[in-house]
């Protein structure tokens, strides 16, 4: 059984009279990396701020090691066992060293004891060579590294990260994610990170919580959230591009035949015949073949169709294919050339029954 470090029960927060957060239950385990993902305004930052005791909550309890977090002296004690890093580095107008030492100074740590701790944390985030530099004269990446070192310097039990990579350019972000992962591993700190980028969450997290409208829509292991979303909106947020509504026609031995309109597809699951369901298919799970080809794969869903639309997404192409229902697939530049794909091209598509995630249709 994993030790619970932080528990949230019935937490409600409103801003200017508008409810913005409603967390029924959330448990954070010691040593885990939990990511909060969700669109802007989902309440990720608000949740972090209320976990840090920085904004008032209307209702509910936050328990740290089983003890309720309240206002007053205990709140300060609680805050001193955690650290927070924001999107902007928010450094003080002093040297990198002084910045990393800031939390320790506030706790009245002796100068002599402080030095090795500050140096260790500057090393950890590769800013030791900037020690005596003014925090005004370092790059954005270096500044965020300094901010992370400052957070880790107080040896927090829990670290809250609010979109820590959102203002960084890709190379800086890559190397900082690497160093953060390393620091988490060495220090065995528990972390909760808010991010709008599911790829960042996937790289660091033990668990991912998808937030929507101030609530946690789904929480679980990354593969679970990515491949088995509980609702259409979660599915959209985790990158599922094909959502089909349908009705179970038959169900036997863990395989269902689902009528999705003009076609039937096969998927794993055991809902009863007649049930209204939603089927989710990730675009990277769809294989595209030339029109009329007979795929030699084990995929049980094979359809012929026509390319309706082609969009570039980074180095991949997104194809919208009409094969009796609308299916989205990602293909590489190479595949585009090999298959000579263009709008109107006939294609054959295939996906496995296990690649289709089916949920019962919700009516709200």
């Amino acid at each position: 059984m994993k030790e619970t470090i932080l528990s949230v029960r019935g937490l409600k927060v409103s801003r200017g009279g508008v409810p913005v957060l409603d967390i029924q239950e959330l448990d954070v385990y010691a040593g885990e990396f939990l990511s909060l993902i969700g669109p802007n305004g989902a309440g990720k930052s608000t949740l972090l701020l209320s976990l840090a005791g920085l904004i008032k909550r209307d209702k509910g309890e936050i328990l740290f090691h089983g003890r309720p977090v309240e206002n007053g002296a205990r709140l300060l004690e609680y805050r001193r066992s955690l650290a927070m890093v924001f999107q902007e580095p928010l450094l003080f107008d002093s040297t990198v060293y002084d910045n990393v030492a800031a939390g320790l100074k506030l706790r009245g740590t002796e100068r002599k004891k402080m030095r090795p701790i500050v140096e260790e944390n500057m090393e950890l985030f590769a800013v030791a060579h900037l020690s005596s530099r003014s925090a005004r004269k370092i790059s954005g990446g270096e500044a965020q590294r300094t901010s992370l070192a400052r957070a880790f310097a107080t040896n927090p039990e829990l670290i809250l990260l609010d979109e820590p990579f959102a203002s960084l350019d890709p190379p800086a972000k890559e190397s900082i994610i690497g160093d953060l992962g390393h620091a988490m591993h060495i220090k065995k700190t528990t972390a909760i990170m808010a991010t709008h980028d599911r790829r960042d969450a996937l790289r660091l997290s033990d668990r991912i919580a998808v937030m929507e409208g101030g609530r946690i829509a789904q929480i679980g292991a990354p593969v679970e959230v990515m491949y088995q979303p509980v609702s259409e909106s979660v599915a959209q947020f985790v990158g599922i591009e094909t959502t089909l509504e349908g009705k179970v026609r038959s169900s036997a031995g863990g395989i269902m035949q689902v009528d999705v309109g003009s076609r039937d597809i096969l998927c794993t699951g055991d809902f009863a015949p007649g049930e209204q369901v939603m089927c989710f298919i990730r675009p990277e799970h769809v294989t595209v073949y030339p029109g009329g080809a007979r795929p030699d794969s084990s995929a049980r869903n094979v359809f012929t169709g026509t390319v309706l639309k082609i969009q570039t997404i980074g180095l991949l192409y997104r194809l919208s294919i009409d094969c009796g229902f609308m299916l989205s697939a990602h293909v590489t530049q190479q595949a585009m050339e090999d298959l000579r794909l263009a709008v109107g091209s006939p294609v054959t598509v295939a996906f496995k029954a296990t690649s289709v995630h089916v949920i019962r249709k919700s009516w709200d």
Partner: protein, 232 residues
């Protein structure tokens, strides 16, 4: 034209020979305005910081009052300080009228809103997120306020400069409450007014040059502070 040249020559002479009267006037000016600024810092920074960091009904009104105070004509301040210090005024028993102390008092009243206004603006300009960051670093409320004031130290230094610059060049209040008494309450500006009135342009020019020199130095420092980079 000759008049000005003569004046500048005389001014130069008075300066290089360290004329005791000019020196005395200069010293009193610096001391009076320096002390007035010093007192205004205490009240101004405290007031500005308090208003910047709190929310209360009527706050906007208080901010408007402070901002208006930044531009109150010194003669108006001089008038009211004179009334207060008048023999049978509320503070008449202190017998401060026509003393350097009265000038310090009047100048502090002039400088306080300037310092408060600039403190207010500079503390308020610090992003809200930094306040949260400081608390998240484990600061008590007092530690947080102290760190914010420290963070705003450059603009606050500008407040010092603006306050000092405002009062050292001020003449109306000084002449009204100080009386421009020779060797006692005569400062650079009041002396300049008087010497000009008497037609002693050379002395007046000398005094003006000294005053300009100080204003220039203050503005030079002020500008160099303003031009510094913003932190990340």
């Amino acid at each position: 034209m000759e008049l000005i040249l003569e004046g500048i020559k005389k001014a130069f002479w008075l300066l290089v020979t360290f004329d005791p009267e000019v020196l005395g006037i200069t010293w009193l000016s610096l001391r009076v305005s320096g002390l007035a600024t010093f007192f205004s810092l205490f009240i101004g920074i405290t007031l500005g910081t308090a208003v910047a960091l709190t929310r209360f009904p009527g706050r906007r009104f208080v901010v408007s009052v402070i901002n208006t105070g930044m531009g109150v004509p010194p003669v108006v301040v001089g008038l009211f300080v004179t009334i207060f210090l008048w023999r049978n005024g509320p503070l008449g028993f202190l017998e401060l009228l026509y003393t350097p102390t009265a000038i310090i008092l009047a100048q502090a009243v002039i400088a306080t809103p300037i310092v408060a206004g600039i403190s207010l603006a500079s503390i308020q300009k610090i992003p809200e997120a930094l306040r949260l960051q400081i608390l998240a670093l484990g600061a008590t409320r007092i530690q947080m306020v102290w760190l914010l004031v420290k963070e705003a130290r450059l603009p606050l230094l500008a407040a010092v400069m603006a306050g000092f610059g405002g009062v050292i060049s001020e003449v109306g209040a000084s002449i009204m409450v100080g009386g421009n008494i020779k060797g006692y309450s005569r400062v650079l500006t009041t002396a300049t007014v008087m010497e000009t009135g008497r037609g002693n342009f050379d002395v007046a020019i000398a005094l003006s040059v000294i005053l300009l020199l100080f204003t220039f130095i203050i503005n030079a420092i002020f500008t160099s502070i303003q031009q510094r980079e913003r932190p990340r």
